[in-house]
Amino acid sequence: MEEKNKANENRSRVRDFAQDSVTQKDDHIKRIDNERFKKSEIAALAASGILLGSEKRAATIVVCDHQLICPLYELDGFEMLPISDALIRYSWFRERYFFNAIPSDLNDIVANCANEKNPLGFFIRVHQGAKVEMPCQAAMYMTKNHISQIVHNIVVLEEGSELKLISGCLNHPRVINGLHLALEEHYIGKNARLVSTMVHTWSGEMRVYPHSGTIVEGGGQFESNYISFSPAEHIVSNPQTWLNGKGASAKYTTAIIAIPGSKIETDGTVYLNAENTSAELSHRGVCTGGIMHQGGLLIGAAPCKAHVDCAGMLLDSGGKGIIESVPGLCSRHADARMSHEASIGKISPDQVEYLMSRGMEEHEAVSMLIRGFLGADIKGLGDELDARIEEMIEIAGHGC
């Protein structure tokens, strides 16, 4: 009952912010200009995996508060444009992709977004057989207090295409309160592959509610990496994935640090609806004092193979940290092979001492163990993000 009341309270807060977003919205679209951002902002974006002006990225989109900065890209079977333009440009767009992977009546805020004539967000389309080698990057950046940023993004990979997408979501340090809600729809065609890496770098009393829906056709692959080492006050993430074609697969990896005052809820539901589909959900979380919920539900409705794994490390010496791990399975077919595991523990003193015997300081050993536990050896997102990850792991290690 208490949980229900809290959920209603959250929904009501979401509604308040939604009103703000409609009134404050600015649809003006500009080309990305490095000079538009201060050096400190460029560094902050880089620490979230967004490298402005870098040759290591195929394309860049920035959603700054309510303004979309999105140059039109139409290159080698790849196109990227504001979602509002896509609605005008393509007669088929609304029917095929607009709120087909996320129900438009999910809640009031989503319903408002579905009825918005000029929605904020982007549309990426990778044409049949096209393989975009460099990652495409999208920043969701909040610079103003007490606003809500509601973004609706749609990514379509046609048959045999490939794309890597890096999303960096962050607020300016002066922003202490606000709401970020991102609706992400992914449509992965036959034998296509999408690798989506999302980096959250929040602070203050931010509330962050991403909703994503992914539909994968036969032989398609979806790989999602979610990294949140600098959390908002409240994050709720429950991506829904439908593996609808034979041999489709999904792999979710989350690496999270919860700090005192934060509440992070990461779930994920995968519907395995076709023969030989497979899914793997792996949650890794370190809690230094906040509340962390790790979940994941696999629903097998065909001969399939799937595994969900939740692992938490509680480093809170003050006794206020909570980790709750609830992996779940639901089988609707006799040949669905599914398994789950959950573990919560602390850092093993034997392992710390072992690394110390190799000359590491205690805090270096703890950092290496946390990094290893989180699987945070993530390459290719930039030196700035690597440094930020190191910094956050170091801070987390001081709690134990």
């Binding site: 072992y354 110390m356 015997s357 190799r358 050896d377």
Partner: protein
Amino acid sequence: MNLLEIEDLFVEADGKELLRNVNLIIPEGEVHALLGQNGSGKTSLMMTIMGFSGYDITRGRIRFKGQDISDLSITQRAKLGIGISQQRPPTIQGVTLRNVLEHANKRSKLSFNIMELAREAQMQCFLDRNIHEGLSGGEIKRSELLQLLVTSPIFSMMDEPDSGLDVEALSIVGGLIHRLFSMDERCPAQQKTGLIITHSCNILKHLPVDKAHIMHKGVIGCSGNPTIILDILAASGYEACIRCMETREGV
């Protein structure tokens, strides 16, 4: 100069006495062998020298390069130049052998070529695996020796580097140990110092030792010429040594 001096050392764990009245001196440049039956206290002595928790010194002291290290942390001891190769090191999820070697290499003045060393130890395919996960006994020994080589300690301790190895594996391990002890690049004329724990003595064929000690019930009961001690052990086993020690010392 004596590198390691242990004087009247008593150690206990969870209230149980593990070592008593241990006295051991290892001069710089010498390699000593510590022999004894299972459970005699050899590993406890090594873990105490390295400073692992759970081994409480109730009396006596350990000096390294003249400094009392009894209250120093494991890291401080490692930085002074003490290294260890454990018999049963922990498996660590998410931490690879390469992670540890590269971290140690950053601190090393010698700057090793990790791939070259790994090839020499036939460990190149294990570099990016969780450290010690799924490794055989021989592979664990090679992993431990590889780490010792990169940390290049002044004083190396090895816990049974030869147990359970076939001839080929023993030859690889012997080569690594030989390399570890044969040359100190900071002082080329001087052999490095070490303490090798064993009870099979196979490894001593690959590495000449200067002195052997026999441990029994937490006490070093006999020390002397390694050739003579090894001959006695080969002829009569530990029983003769134990009878002799108990007669002499009242162990």
